[in-house]
């Protein structure tokens, strides 16, 4: 029942909003309807759970209506409302994602609201996932709802903002009861069904290809394992195959974007049975493509890594000069290039410097071990 409820939540919410309900009121109404469903369905499950939820939630919206005239206007709209078809379901999902990722919201607020309103997670689950008190998360979500309600539905949705928010959920998730990476994949799949933009498929492929390596990213004792040292037999080959298939279909549509290019790089890594078999020249070409499309210094830094593999450490170190010093992981890359150049002492110093500025404990510990390895070899 939980899965059913979570699948239906955004659809029902989308229908209410499209019918003209205020976003905050609609969200409250859906939550109330879900509470009623949990109480009633075990004894009397409806034939059409979605229709049941829409009816009950809509009644709550109408009951909560602020003025009689507003209520009358809405009731007239209900009367004229045709039964939603499949294409409308898709529109509703899109509309809801656009609202939750409204440009007026900060990324963190958009993430919280998306997980609540589209993901159907409870406030407690979201709070636990992001390691904040439940009251803080409740406040973040209700502020976000107010902001969206004030801004209104009128503005056209920004699909790229939705993609950024989903990327954040996938990439910067904390641990908790809820698997945020899996949740991000589920929501991106939902969006992919509702949109014909190949970048949505590109993001979905990117997520699947990285998710596939998850079991190999951490050692049994909880240490971060870099890509080159991962046990590739532990990669999820089904997820890789699915990611590659989705990516290829997207690329065939010939509307390349950053997510597709990133996914192509991830796919090339997944293609290699061993780290030595990695097709670095082709990866470098994709980075060139990415660099041409974005001024992101992170992309420029990653390109330097690929360049080091293709043309060697000296060429890469010269290219590194163009990467601003404050870019995260730049010192770690510099250390690695010096190690490749055979300068173990300099590399050890740089690994230690990189550890000192690492923003995660797992990376700091990994870099400290690299420095220690070179100093004791």
């Amino acid at each position: 029942m939980e899965q059913l409820v979570r699948d239906l939540t955004p659809q029902v919410l989308g229908i209410l909003v499209r019918r003209g309900a205020d976003f905050a009121a609609a969200e409250d109404a859906v939550q109330e309807a879900l509470v009623e469903a949990v109480r009633r369905w075990p004894d009397a499950a409806p034939d059409d759970p979605k229709a049941w939820l829409v009816t009950v939630a809509w009644r709550k919206v109408v009951d909560a209506g602020r003025s009689a005239s507003a209520r009358r206007a809405r009731e007239e709209r209900v009367h004229d409302e045709p039964a939603p078809g499949p294409s409308e379901d898709q529109d509703d999902t899109l509309l809801l994602l656009f609202l939750c990722c409204h440009p007026a919201l900060t990324p963190a607020s958009a993430v919280a609201l998306t997980l609540r309103a589209v993901g159907g997670l409870t406030t407690r689950q979201i709070a636990e996932a992001y390691l904040v008190p439940e009251a803080t998360m409740a406040q973040r979500i209700s502020r976000a709802k107010r902001t969206v309600a004030e801004q209104g539905v009128g503005a056209p949705g920004d699909l790229y903002r939705v993609l950024t928010v989903l990327y954040l959920v996938f990439n910067e998730g904390y641990s908790g009861d809820v698997d945020l990476a899996a949740e991000a994949i589920r929501l991106t799949r939902m969006l992919d069904r509702a949109s014909d933009e190949p970048e949505v498929a590109g993001l979905l492929a990117l997520m699947l290809l990285h998710h596939a390596r998850r079991a190999a990213r951490w050692s049994a004792s909880g240490e971060l394992v870099p890509l080159a040292e991962q046990d590739r037999t532990r990669w999820d080959t089904d997820a890789v195959a699915e990611g590659v298939e989705i990516l290829q279909a997207a690329l065939r549509r010939d509307r390349l974007g950053e997510y597709q290019a990133q996914a192509a790089i991830a796919a090339l890594h997944c293609d290699a049975q061993t780290a030595e078999e990695t097709d670095w020249p082709q990866i470098l070409e994709w980075y060139d493509e990415l660099v041409a499309r974005t001024d992101s210094p992170v992309v420029a830094l990653n390109r330097v890594v690929a360049l080091g593999e293709v043309d060697g450490p000296y060429v890469a170190l010269r290219a590194l000069d163009a990467v601003p010093p404050e870019v995260p992981r730049r010192t770690a890359v510099e250390a690695w290039l010096h190690e490749r150049a055979g300068e173990a002492g300099r590399a050890a110093e740089l690994y230690a410097d990189a550890a000192a500025v690492a923003t995660s404990a797992a990376e700091r510990d990994h870099l400290t071990r690299q420095a220690a390895r070179l100093r004791h070899s």
């Binding site: 390691l131 803080t136 996938f170 998730g173």
Partner: protein, 134 residues
Amino acid sequence: MAKYLLLKHYRGAKPIDCAPMDQWTPQEVSDHIAFMGKVADDLRERGEFVDAQGLSPEGTFVRFDGEGRPPVTDGPFAETKDLIAGWMVIDVDSVERAHEAAAYLSSAPGPGGVPIREWIEVRPFMEEPPTITE
């Protein structure tokens, strides 16, 4: 989002000349404490509050002294001029926002209702490593 520790120190040197708190009027003390509560409430309202704790000024230094031996205690050390009075933990969108919140905390009123402008140390928490780095 990133979490930051806002650390309140009792420092020997304050940026503005300010009498110790026990020489303030009762109202000034109450106003200062009420302001701290207001900062926490405002952060809660913005969905940024994680934790706030005050620390007792007296502490003890403790260390391991070998298997089967009781812990060694020492201190407080005379040279320690810097005492940690307490902290707040916030979860915010940017380092700029963390600095803004710290400056707000530092604007707490002292004698005559004038902001005492004490230094707040802002320290980022270690994060989870991102999944996508290549």
